[in-house]
């Protein structure tokens, strides 16, 4: 009888403690002032032994967990460097694994504003994923959209087109060779990425960026119309509404208004 009471007491106590703990983050999950260090590649390979593939999967998830979606905008350079090294570690363990390449492309040129880093990372995968047209495709896009290097962009996009036999990429490569349609190209690129991804978090992030770019495209077309009508670009975006070219300025999904600088729309 005594034992039963003791057991009931302990079980109730256990759940009370568990409920209290539920509101406390375990120490390992607390964000430290300085991101933790990643083991050097050779040590990492030794640690995972014959389970290197599983290690690559685990590190990929680790980088995703660290990103915590909404906090991305507040990331410091140090945070991005940490994510980059985790993804690099994942790539080292399984250089054929597509997801680290994909994630680097999804975030580094855009949010981390490091297209060079993304290109460097993606180029490492070219000798492994020789059948995969998306790597040269991503590289080509980064050269085009972020670095304005049209020669390199068309070189890699033509490489992608050769691997995939996809008419769309070949057209894109030709279009870029003529230096045209930057926003349209970005929308086409992101739509393609969106259609291929499984992860809901990643889908949401891409969708947001896609919406922002669609807004930019509407505004760019309106500015072009304004320029034809008045011979110069507007000083502010609200002039487009005032002159009746568009009914309203599109909503920016990033919750900051679109703005005009040197005739270009930014978000």
């Amino acid at each position: 009888m005594k034992k039963t009471f003791l057991l009931i007491f302990l079980i109730i106590g256990y759940f009370i403690v568990l409920k209290t703990l539920g509101e406390t983050k375990p120490l390992v999950l607390r964000k430290e002032k300085f991101p933790p260090k990643i083991l050097p590649p050779a040590m990492l390979k030794l640690t995972w032994g014959e389970f290197k593939n599983l290690g690559a999967d685990f590190l990929f998830i680790k980088s995703l967990v660290y990103q915590e979606a909404e906090a991305i905008s507040k990331f410091s350079e140090q945070d991005w460097n940490y994510i980059y090294s985790v993804l690099e570690a994942s790539r080292m363990l399984d250089p054929y694994f597509k997801d680290p390449y994909w994630l680097v492309q999804a975030f580094f040129p855009w949010e981390a504003k490091s297209p060079e880093k993304a290109i460097f990372f993606l180029k490492k995968g070219l000798s492994y994923r020789t059948w995969d047209w998306t790597l040269p495709y991503y590289i080509g896009f980064d050269y085009f959209f972020f670095l304005n290097d049209y020669a390199q962009a068309s070189k890699y996009l033509f490489k992608a087109a050769r691997i995939s036999d996809n008419l769309f990429i070949a057209t894109l490569a030709a279009q870029i060779a003529y230096k045209g349609g930057k926003t349209e190209t970005a929308i086409a690129f992101l739509s393609d990425m969106y259609s291929k991804v499984v992860s809901e978090t990643a889908k949401e992030a891409i969708h947001k960026r896609l919406q922002a770019l669609q807004g930019v495209l509407i505004l760019e077309k309106a500015i072009e119309k304004y320029k034809t009508m008045f011979g110069h670009v507007p000083n502010e975006l609200k002039e487009l509404v005032e002159k009746g070219i568009i009914k309203e300025i599109p909503q920016n999904p990033y919750h900051t208004p679109y703005y005009l600088k040197d005739g270009k729309v930014f978000f």
Binding site: E50, L54, I61, K196, V198, A202
Partner: protein
């Protein structure tokens, strides 16, 4: 031949009695469920992740069988003196060793067969759920090949266990040395690469170790199956011969040591 079969059959029966099959199936189901829960975290290569989980769970389960079933079974024979029953029968010590080896081989084979079927089932589930994400050159043949060479690596490790058992017969020592051989075996290729440009004596030690310890990374074909990569038939032939030769050498050494061993 009949005596060899008799020892093998007894060993196999004894192993099956431990109900390991229930254990490994439960462990695999747990691993499979974990992989399905985590699948949605991945962006593109989801089926590859499924294959990773399936093959890694198979490897881990096989290791558990080796360390928690095979080693205790070998030691039990010496500890409980049941070895005398076999040795006093009209069979030679070499036949006893071979019989034991084949008995444990059959246990591992059955385990791998079940795990292989479960692995393929798990991969099939992934392929059905994520049809658009199947690796470009995926083939079931490569999956079976990865499983077969996983079994061969277990047999190599089993021969290492037999060797250490013939030398020491103390369970803890056999487990420790076998684990050490496993860790060295899976990492020797990486270490060799690390020290390749090292001018010192370490390079020679590592090179020497690579001749002694089994290079288990040769049998690791998980990447081939996961990404549908090409593999040369000559590579398969070479590693098969390497594995068989290693097993044969260690078994002969085991028989030679066991012949002179004082079992009293």
């Amino acid at each position: 031949m009949h005596k060899l079969y008799w020892v093998s059959w007894l060993t196999f029966k004894e192993g099956i009695k431990h109900r390991i099959l229930y254990g490994i199936i439960l462990f695999f189901i747990f691993a499979a469920m974990t992989s399905l829960v985590f699948a949605d975290f991945f962006a593109i290569d989801v089926v590859k992740v499924g294959i990773d989980f399936a093959l890694s769970a198979t490897s881990l389960t096989g290791l558990l069988v080796l360390f928690f079933l095979c080693i205790p079974m070998l030691n039990k024979d010496l500890d409980k003196r049941t070895v005398y029953f076999s040795i006093s029968s009209p069979i030679s010590r070499s036949q006893y060793i071979l019989g034991k080896f084949f008995g444990l081989f059959f246990i591992l084979f059955i385990c791998m067969l079940i795990l292989g079927i479960l692995s393929c089932l798990l991969v099939k589930i992934f392929m059905t759920l994520y049809k658009a994400y199947i690796p470009l050159n995926f083939s079931w043949a490569k999956m079976v090949l990865a499983l077969a060479f996983n079994l061969l690596s277990f047999l190599v490790l089993l021969s290492v266990i037999f060797f250490f058992w013939s030398v020491s017969s103390k369970g803890f020592i056999v487990s420790t040395f076998s684990l050490m051989a496993y860790i060295i075996g899976t990492n020797i290729a990486v270490v060799k690469e690390m020290v390749s440009s090292h001018p010192g004596v370490i390079k020679h030690i590592v090179n020497f170790s690579s001749w002694i310890f089994p290079n288990l990374s040769y049998f690791d074909l998980k990447k081939i199956a996961a990404h549908g990569l090409d593999i040369a038939p000559s590579y398969i032939l070479k590693i098969s011969i390497y594995g068989c030769f290693y097993i044969a050498i260690l078994l002969i050494l085991t028989m030679m040591i066991f012949k002179k061993k004082d079992l009293a």
